[in-house]
Each structure stands twice: as structure tokens, then as C-alpha cells.
Amino acid sequence: MFQRIRSLVVKELLATLRDKKARIALIVPPILQLFVFAFAGTQEVTNISLAVFNPDAGRASAELVQRLEASGNFSHIRFVRSTGEMQAAIDRQQVVAGVRFQDDFSARLLGGQSAPVQLILDGRKSNAAQIVQGYVQSVVEQFGRERAAEGRVRLADAAIEPRNWFNPNLIYLWFTVPSLVAMITTLTALNVTSMSVAREREMGTFDQLLVSPLRPLEILAGKALPAFGLALAQATIFLVVAVLVFRIPFRGSPPLLYGALIVFIAAMVGVGLFISSLSATQQQALLGTFTFMVPAMLLSGYASPIENMPAWLQPLTYLNPLRYMMVVVKGVYLKALPAAEVLHQVWPMALIAAATVALATWQFRRRSA
């Protein structure tokens, strides 16, 4: 029995690696993903323009504007001469936000009064707007604090000193690259399993397997194991690239991460095999993979935090193995998540894996005999 499975695995690997198209499908999308997600998918707010309307001729407002300029958060400061002009700049998306001073800003500060500054944000870009607000706020607060220190203004509020743990410089890549490890294993595990059965059906070799002494379970194992191997190999490549090329320090325990990965891949292989047992052609298999893949990614907490999703949608994410793996991979990688915490994420994945593999087996036996 093991010999038969072994032959099947060898054949599967040979077929995948000798077929030029399959080889390309295995190598190109992950690399594309790595670079596209790592660089284009960034949610860091850089390259933003800010409009400033400053009818006040005093020193205080000029200093604050200089501080904004010097903060490095804004690539371009655009000076406008009227509220209308500012509105137009936001409308045309030339700037994400506008800062508007009152014409007595400096005078009020000199008089010891509070002097409000208006910040107008482009709500269409909610994420960028939030971040810009943070940037502007911190500059204004700093300005206020320093003036208070000079004794000119009384400042009652406590100052906030933020410190970002696990990713001290808030480098966005530190967030995306480890997540990509989970993404890429998903893609490979799904692709390899769902396409391989469909390919054999298209070529007519599947019947050949079914009339051989191979039992349906053995065929299933022969299809699943190469997917495990290839998915783990790609995860390893990504981890190595993350550490060596992107220089993101790996803080946790590799065996712990690999243990979780194996459970996760089992869940995905189950899904892949289920898709493959439903599809008659490679095209159908590909469609099936994407039908599953896109929602799985969106509901994983990678693109947007799960807590931000509507309450009715959140329970659905519990069915998504990628959701747990995201926590594990980021946790183990960036903050050495302890084993107990990892286990807490792994058991739901194990449950899902058991369910998907069982479903695939059932469907496979039903269709193949």
C-alpha cells in the first residue's frame, strides 16, 4: 500500500515539475504575490499632499506650518488662498487633507487664549484620512507642548508618548510578509490538489488510476502528500526571504510554526480535494479555487481587521482556517507567541481540517466508484 502511494507521489511530483505550465503556475504567482503584496499592498500612508490655508500673518501659524512641513510625513504642502480653493483641491483628490488657520491664530495664542486649527479630511479615503489625522494631531500637540514649556501657554492635557511593540518602527512589511507565508501555502495547497485530479480527468488518466488496485483513499493520499510537500517548501522559501532579504527578525519557535502550518495545510488540502472532486475540467477547478480563495483572504483579517467587520459577518470568519493561521504566523514570527496560545488557534483549524478532509473523501468515493 505504501509502495503504491509512494509511486503516486513520485509521479505527481514528476508530472508537476516536468510540465512547464505547472512549473510556471507554481513559481510565478508566489513571486508576484510576494512583491505585489509586499510593496503595492502597503497600507502605510506615504506620498500624501496636504493643503494649508493660512490667512493669519503671525509667527505662530508660520512656525506650525513649518513643523508640518518638516515632519516628513507629507511629501508636498500646497498653500491655498481661500477655503474654496482648499475644497477644490480635496474634490480633485490633489490633497488628502487641508489645514485651516483662523486669521487671528497667532494673536489668540499671544493673548494666552486657545487657538483652534481646523483639519478637513477626505473621508473617501478613510484609512489614509485617519492616519493623516494622527500625523497632524501629533505635530500640533508637540507644538502646543513646547509652547507650554516655554511658559507662554498653559497645557493641561497629559502628553501621549506612543511606542509600538513588536514592530517598533511600524514598518508595514513586517505585517505583510509573515502574512504572505499563510497566503502562499493556501494558494499552493489549493492549486496543486484541485488541479491535479481535474487534469487527470481531462487527460483520461483518471480512469486508468481507478482501474488499478489503488483504493480511493490511496489515490487521495497520493494527491494530498505532494501538495503538503510543495506548500511547505514554498512556506520555507518565503520565511527565508523574509529573514534574509526583508530583514524581519524571526522571534518565535520554527517547530511550533511548522506544526501549525501542517494542520493548516491539511485543512486547505481538504478544501482543494473537495473542489477537485466536484470539477470535471481544470477550468472548473481553477474557478472553484478562486471562488473559495478570495472570500477566504478577505475574511482572514489580512486586508481589514475582523473586529471592523459587521457583527453578523464575524462568526463566518470562524469557519475560515486562514483566520487562525494569520494569527499564528504573525504571532510566532513577530512576538514568539507561546505554545499555549498557538494551540488555542490550532484546534479550530484541526477541526476544520478533519471536516474538509472527511467531506473530500466522502465526495471522492461517491464520484469515483
Binding site: Q3, R4, S7, R18, M203, T205, D207
Partner: protein, 582 residues
């Protein structure tokens, strides 16, 4: 009426795809109006290449070509407008109904109003379409699809009609319908080119162009080629051991080619025509009778005959121990899809060392029955036993006793020849130590050693077939299941294939085969004819042929028998079926 205008003129026509042997090598031929020109040859002979060049879809590399007075390199548009081309897989819209397909093609060709009604009436008259017009085209059987495809191609009447293997995978009855549709056109002066891998089909054409591996073998009326073997075809009755007798006869220097035909051997002799021939010269006992020469005999003669010598594979195989129990048993096999019974209560047994053929029209339940017998489909009721083991309960063990060879030679195209063999050795559980010698043995026996490290997908068809057979025989099975094993293969390779099969059967291997080649059915010891899900006839080929004997046709062919039996069954059942339906 018999307008014999030259429609196509070819001189030195050559097409190359990259280096190596040209796809078509210096063809000189003409195609006349008002005739059917057969374009014969095995797969890969260059038939499709030639048709596509004539249709103006492919530019020739060298040589002259004039189609309907036009050079397709200069004015392909003109040819598209005046000639009809039906590719192997005609572009039917599978999700549209039969009627919607016809309407669509009529709209595209601008056939409207009264003309359209007439055309549809004419086309629908050829077959009993009426009950099918609402059916989805994708749900039609192979033969029906082919007929619908032809009907769509015939909606506007072309001056030249190019048909690429319209008869492939189509049962004899549907093939006769297709033929009638085309003959009707010829009467109106249309020139038809009918390409085919079946030489008996080519024989019916007025002129033929025979290609083999890109080279023209013969151009002219088929009778001229057949005439070359006149007086050289002989039939010898054989009481017992006809397979052994054939292999003996083929070893004789005098015999060029031979096939089994019921309880006779049909031999083609080398050299000149003779008036009398003593079969004892070839070591046979029976009295030789002159036989009508066939086109295929002449084709094989033109190619120099099949390779000689006994089957090495059969020599290398172990002798299957004798056993009185049936090897294959169908017990009241039934398969239902919804309320449609694809196979309905089929029972038969096949003893050890017999070749059993399953024949039947397209969509009659032949494949369903075959699939249940080799464990690819689970029967709704009834049982399928192989070597006494139930495929449902001890499937793996039963399957390890059977070898399977499918129509499309199910190989892993990306794997090399050797890797394919290693894979099959592995999944059939050959012990590690025996795998390498077994693979090497197969490479030698099937003469595949030079190709051992080439990807199997790029091999010529004949090689693929040998490899596929090697893969099926790796584990020395007791039973062989062959699903249209020789479709599209040239006659020489087919002869070689049957030489191996005959040799294996002599060693006690049991064979179950499905085929559309009626002359191949003659190799079978017994034939089961499946129609409308039922086994409507069962017996040795000669017995079935005898049933079709009439005063007009004293020696019916297997094809006559096939059509006779199916139609007789229809007539018998026809009465009570019509009562139920309006």
C-alpha cells in the same frame, strides 16, 4: 448532373511544421466536382493539414494549390465563402437545442424564409430527428452530434465540402446516414472530400487520396489499388485454434498479411496473382478459397506488409493457470441515471482465454456496461465479477488482476516513457526488486528503448499505443479490458496489436474489447451486441452474420449483421413502443 469540373488542383503540395518530416510531402492530386473523394490514412498522416490548406486556413510551404480557381494564399476569403469545412469537432453550441443550433447557422448563412423551411425539411428528412429537436446538443450521442454538425455545415449549399473524419467514433448506422446526406449533395455537382481513418469507408468513394506519414501512397479510383492484390486474397477455413493457425500462417514466406474472420483466416499473399493456392504451403489444413480483395489489403501491400515474427510480449508473459470458472461475469447488470436505464439487465460470462467483443451503436449502453465490468462505474443493481471477485467488495484485489487500455492511451504525457512504466509498475504493486527488470523487459519487448527518456506526450501515435499496452501488461494481468484500443491507428500497427493480443490469449489471458471497427470484431470468439441498454444478440461472429443472410446478400459482413440485428430489434419493439407515445 455529373459535372466533373476540377475544383482543386494540387501540384507538389508540401507543408512543414518546423524541421523533421513534413506534415505533407509533395502531393499531386485533383478533386473533381460531383464526386466523393476519399482522403484516407491513419492519424498523423496529414489529412487535417491538407484539408485546412484547401479550406484556406493554413498556407502551404511549397507547391501549387488552386481551389475553385483561386489561390488560397491570395484570396482565402473567396474560398471561405464558397467552400464548406467541417472540422473533426464541429462547432456545435452544446447548450443550445438542436433546433436552436440549426436556426443559428441558418441565420449566420443568411438562409431565410421559404428557403430555410425547405432546407430544414431536407436535412431533417435524413434521420428521425423529429423527437430530438428540443434536446440540448450537448446531450446527444456522438453519432447524433456528428449528424447535426453535418446538417449545420450543409445549410447553405457549398461548391466544395471538406469533411474531416465525419465517421470517427460513429457507429455503422449513423455512418450510413451521414453517407446518404453527402451522396445527395454529390448529385447536385458538389465536390466532397471525406477524410477517414477507416479504409473500408474510403473504398466506397469514387476516388481516393491515400496518405501515410505525410507521403501520398496512392491517388485514383480505389479499384485500381485494390486491383493490385486481385488473385492474392484467399480465405482458409479453420476448425480449431484459429489464432495459432494465423500466427503459423504469418510465419510463412508467402503470406504478406492475415486476419481472423470468424472461423476463417483471410490471407493476402506476396508476389503475383494466382488461380489456385494450396494452403498447406502456409502450413494450414483447410481448403483455400479465393476471396474478394479489399482496399485495406492493397493499402497494407503498398506499405510492404506488417512486421514479421511472433509476438515477443506473448512469449515473455507467464502462462495463466487453467481454470474452469468464468473470468468475467455480468450478472443482471443494470445502471440507471435517473429513470433512464443506460444498461438494463445485461448478463453474460466469459471463460478463460476468450476474446469477447462488446459492440453497439453510440449511446446504446456499451460503454456503461464496459465501465461497470472493469469497476469504473458502480452498478445500480446486479453484479460484475472479475476472476470470481466482486468489483464492489474486493475491488482492489480484483483490479490487481486486470489490465486496462483506453481509447486515448491514458499516459502521463509529461513523464518519460520509462517514468510512465515505473509508475504503473509501482501502482500495481510490483516489488521494488522486480520493477527495474520488468520496466527494462517492456522497453525491449516493445522496442521503446530508444525513446525511454523522451516525454511520452510527444511520441507518434503508434508508439503511444505500444507504451499504453506495455503499461497495461506490466503486472501480467489475467484479464485485459480494451476500450476501442485501435481507433485512429494505422492498419499496420493494428495488425501488430492484434498479433500481441492473439498471442496473449493463447497464453490464457482473457480479453474484453469494445470497438467500432467491424473487421476487428471478427477477431472475437464471441460478440455481445448492446442496444438500448440491452444485450440484443450474443454469439460467435459467424453466427451473428448468419442471421443477416438473405437471398440478396449471401455472405453478409459484420457491418451488415450489426445493422440487421439493430433494425430487427427496433421493428420487434417498435409495435409496443408506439402505442405508448403519440
Amino acid at each position: 448532373m455529373s459535372d466533373s469540373a476540377v475544383l482543386v488542383e494540387m501540384r507538389g503540395l508540401t507543408k512543414r511544421f518546423g524541421p523533421g518530416r513534413p506534415a505533407l510531402d509533395r502531393l499531386d492530386a485533383r478533386i473533381l466536382g460531383g464526386t466523393i473523394t476519399g482522403l484516407a490514412g491513419p492519424d498523423g498522416a496529414g489529412k487535417t493539414t491538407l484539408l485546412r490548406m484547401i479550406a484556406g486556413l493554413l498556407d502551404p510551404t511549397e507547391g501549387e494549390l488552386r481551389v475553385l480557381g483561386v489561390d488560397p494564399r491570395e484570396d482565402a476569403e473567396e474560398i471561405h465563402a464558397r467552400a464548406g469545412y467541417m472540422p473533426q469537432r464541429f462547432g456545435l453550441y452544446e447548450d443550445l437545442s438542436v433546433q436552436q443550433n440549426l436556426d443559428l447557422y441558418a441565420d449566420l448563412r443568411g438562409v431565410l424564409g421559404e428557403e430555410r423551411r425547405e432546407t430544414f425539411g431536407r436535412l431533417l428528412g435524413f434521420t428521425d430527428w423529429a423527437r430530438f429537436t428540443d434536446r440540448r446538443a450537448g446531450a446527444l450521442s456522438g453519432g447524433m452530434k456528428q449528424k447535426l454538425g453535418l446538417a449545420c455545415a450543409l445549410i447553405s449549399k457549398p461548391e466544395l465540402l471538406l469533411l474531416d473524419e465525419p465517421g470517427v467514433g460513429v457507429d455503422p448506422i449513423s455512418r450510413r446516414d451521414l453517407w446518404r446526406m453527402v451522396e445527395d449533395l454529390v448529385k447536385d455537382g458538389v465536390g466532397v472530400v471525406w477524410s477517414t481513418a477507416y479504409l473500408d469507408e474510403a473504398e466506397q468513394c469514387e476516388t481516393v487520396i491515400v496518405l501515410n506519414e505525410g507521403r501520398p501512397v496512392f491517388c485514383g479510383p480505389p479499384g485500381e489499388l485494390t486491383g493490385r492484390v486481385r488473385g492474392r486474397a484467399w480465405a482458409v477455413p479453420v476448425e480449431h485454434g484459429r489464432r495459432r493457425a494465423l500466427s503459423k500462417a504469418l510465419q510463412s514466406e508467402e503470406v504478406l498479411d492475415g486476419v481472423v474472420q470468424g472461423h476463417r483466416l483471410r490471407l493476402v499473399l506476396r508476389g503475383k496473382a494466382r488461380d489456385r493456392w494450396d494452403a498447406s504451403e502456409a502450413g494450414l489444413e483447410g481448403k483455400a478459397e479465393a476471396a474478394e480483395p479489399r482496399f485495406e489489403d492493397a493499402f497494407i501491400d503498398a506499405l510492404g506488409g506488417p512486421p514479421r515474427g511472433p509476438s515477443r510480449i506473448a512469449e515473455a508473459m507467464r502462462q495463466v493457470p487453467p481454470d474452469d470458472h468464468p473470468v468475467i461475469e455480468a450478472q443482471d447488470l443494470t445502471k440507471r441515471f435517473g429513470d433512464f436505464a443506460a444498461t438494463d439487465g445485461v448478463s453474460f460470462t466469459v471463460p478463460r482465454g476468450e476474446i469477447f467483443g462488446l459492440l453497439g451503436p453510440n449511446g446504446a449502453g456499451k460503454s456503461t456496461t464496459f465501465k461497470m465490468l472493469c469497476g469504473l462505474l458502480r452498478p445500480t443493481s446486479g453484479r460484475a465479477l472479475v476472476t470470481g471477485l466482486d468489483l464492489e467488495h474486493s475491488g482492489s484485489e480484483a483490479r490487481s488482476r486486470l489490465g486496462y487500455m483506453a481509447q486515448k492511451f491514458s499516459l502521463y504525457g509529461d513523464l518519460s516513457v520509462r517514468q510512465n512504466l515505473e509508475f504503473f509498475a509501482g501502482i500495481y504493486g510490483l516489488p521494488r526488486a522486480r520493477q527495474k527488470p520488468a520496466v527494462d523487459g517492456m522497453l525491449d519487448v516493445f522496442a521503446l528503448r530508444d525513446q525511454a527518456d523522451e516525454a511520452s506526450g510527444g511520441l507518434p501515435l503508434g508508439f503511444k499505443q505500444r507504451l499504453s499496452m506495455a503499461a497495461a501488461l506490466m503486472h501480467e494481468p489475467d484479464v485485459l479490458f480494451l476500450d476501442e484500443p485501435t481507433s485512429g491507428v494505422d492498419p499496420l500497427t493494428r495488425r501488430e496489436f492484434w498479433k500481441h493480443i492473439n498471442g496473449l490469449v493463447e497464453k490464457g489471458v482473457t480479453v474484453l474489447v469494445t470497438t467500432h471497427f467491424m473487421d476487428e470484431a471478427e477477431y472475437c470468439d464471441r460478440i455481445g451486441l448492446v442496444y438500448r441498454g440491452k444485450l440484443i444478440a450474443l454469439g460467435p461472429p459467424d453466427e451473428l452474420k448468419a442471421k443477416a443472410r438473405t437471398d440478396k446478400n449471401e455472405s453478409p459482413t459484420m457491418e451488415d449483421a450489426f445493422i440487421h440485428l439493430v433494425q430487427a430489434w427496433d421493428r420487434e419493439q417498435g409495435g409496443d413502443r408506439k402505442e405508448g407515445k403519440p
